[in-house]
Symmetry: C2
Subunit: 346 residues, 2 copies
């Protein structure tokens, strides 16, 4: 065997082998032929173990997420686009402009190169659409049975806008709570794919990068206190987190919380509460009461928040209870979900 | 069952359960009781999905690595300390001061909480010793049999020193090649642990954060072109990468490359070439010939490079061949290793 000969990557029938993670020539080949081509940008092209980026000045923001969603492909997206959107959104929720992404792959021996290519191209597309390049990365391979196809960890850095301070501990009694659209789409899209359920109408993940919407909201000058994307655990968990961080209570209006019909039907069928189901393209905003209507108008003018609504308000309550007026006019506690939640939804 | 009741974490006999990754209250409990306590810093304590950091100004550097080392614990370190050192080193090799780390965990259902605690505390210790805080993170859980205990992906950001430009494509004919110490310690420490081999003398991983050493080297004002840590694939692979990036050849002097006796014996026993075995606390420096001796003195004055040596020089050679004068006076090509390399060494 000529040790200088590297087999071309077979993107039709080829599979990941242990040596794709060895750090040697075969790894370099995979990186050059797949990742560097798809993510094409000058920082990555330098080929170093890290990226040197242009000068910045201001408050830095950093966020990271591992993605282990199963199945890898679902209506509306895949683990690739999800891993770009999710991490960009975390940075955007801090009031920051996302600038750069890193991507680290843990591949299982035997994983189809065709699936890897499809995922990497989906990431590249999502990153390009969002205007946030993937500037550095890493590839590891584990033996068959020690992973699950592919896990992707993305990290984003960004710069906070001048004069903006958003944090989960800044909600105040009297503030209004806004939600950018219907809940539960992502979680139910993944679940129905996983369980091979089909409903009358298809359920499509809402996965999207929200930094453009956030930018419009910040431009409005409205008195924003908190932005948060209700992913794992859904709207209920996110609001409980904020209530705890800020030491306040909340009162929600169930009638104001939109749910797409197929999602509602699927949740009913499976006995799930859509308030606890993950979203990947929605945000919760908490703002000063006097600015809520103006902020709502700005949100509704953006394509990713056409169905935005004011869904409740913040109360003085040191216990941090989140309560809800139900559609029937009753009142109930929207608690943290202590038991089983949908696993591997992102 | 009272849904407000969360079982205390049992760090003696407890195990990771799927709900530790659900994003709900049980996840929050794990984060608060383990990660936030161990990594204790004000950015993480904010409890948001990302960290807002103090103002910075200058050229940003970003690097990421997934860690899948097996076994998780080995002489001289564990996956926790390794995941801190490895990523700090990648940033340091760009001539940057590492500032912040993120850490994302993919845990396998059933993983011992006692092992997780030991690893997290080791990370915390390594980060504190290096002066680089872990400011944000993520935790996911996959079903038993879909992971391998724990995978850790760390990302580091740093700022490049003013006036410094290091890159793998800057080596020039005539430059000297320096190596900071003996090769192969990390790879052989992991391998001997994995294979339950015991040798007369113990083999201990060299895992260490190199940013202090790099800082001293940059302070010297020597004309540095390239810094690189020879991890996966070892010194041979790293030098081949640089030769390819810079479009130059290299001539090494085998007699100048130090190997600890137990590592040499173990490599001989297992039929491995130590030049291809991973290091986690060594660096290769390529510098202008007139500065080599001065740089060497600076390195030897640092505790992590007491055995530094000039191991070769850069040649004009558009083929990018790395050659070596052997101890017996012959000449051989030090090629990329095309075949099997040690898997899961970092």
């Amino acid at each position: 065997m000529n040790i200088n000969y590297i087999r071309p990557l077979d993107f039709k029938n080829g599979r990941i082998e242990m040596q794709h993670g060895s750090g040697g020539r075969v790894t370099a080949h995979l990186i050059n032929e797949l990742f560097a081509k798809a993510f094409d940008n000058p920082y990555l092209a330098e080929g170093n173990d890290g990226a040197v980026l242009p000068p910045v000045s201001g408050r830095l923001v950093m966020s990271t997420d591992s993605h282990v969603v199963s199945p890898l492909f679902f209506a509306g997206g895949d683990i690739g686009s999800l891993s770009v959107h999710g991490t960009i959104n975390d940075v955007a929720m801090m009031g920051a402009v996302p600038l750069y992404l890193s991507a680290a792959f843990i591949l299982e021996e035997g994983f189809l190169l065709s699936d890897l290519k499809r995922i990497v191209e989906s990431m590249a597309h999502a990153a390009q659409e969002a205007g946030v390049p993937i500037v550095t990365g890493d590839t590891k391979v584990v033996e068959q049975g020690k992973g699950d196809g592919i896990f992707i960890t993305t990290t984003a850095v960004g710069m906070v806008r001048d004069g903006i301070t958003l944090s989960g501990n800044l909600a105040q009694a009297g503030d209004k709570i806004l939600l950018s659209g219907p809940v539960g789409d992502h979680g139910m899209a993944v679940l129905s794919q996983r369980e091979n359920l089909s409903f009358d109408a298809p359920i499509v993940s809402d996965t999207a990068a929200l930094h453009g919407l956030v930018s419009a909201m910040l431009d409005s000058g409205a008195g924003l206190r908190v932005l948060r994307d209700p992913t794992r655990g859904g709207v209920a968990t996110t609001l409980n987190e904020i209530a705890q961080q800020s030491g306040v209570g909340m009162l929600l209006n169930e009638a104001a919380i939109a749910i797409n019909k197929p999602v509602e039907a699927a949740c009913e069928f499976l006995g799930l509460d859509p308030l606890y189901v993950a979203n990947e393209g929605k945000l919760i905003a908490i703002c000063a009461p006097e600015d809520a209507v103006r902020l709502l108008a700005v949100m509704r003018a953006h394509p990713l928040a056409r169905d935005a609504a004011i869904i409740g308000e913040v109360l003085a309550d040191s216990h941090g209870f989140v309560q809800m007026i139900t559609r029937l006019g009753g009142r109930r506690i929207v608690d943290w979900l202590a038991g089983e939640q949908l696993p591997r939804i992102c």
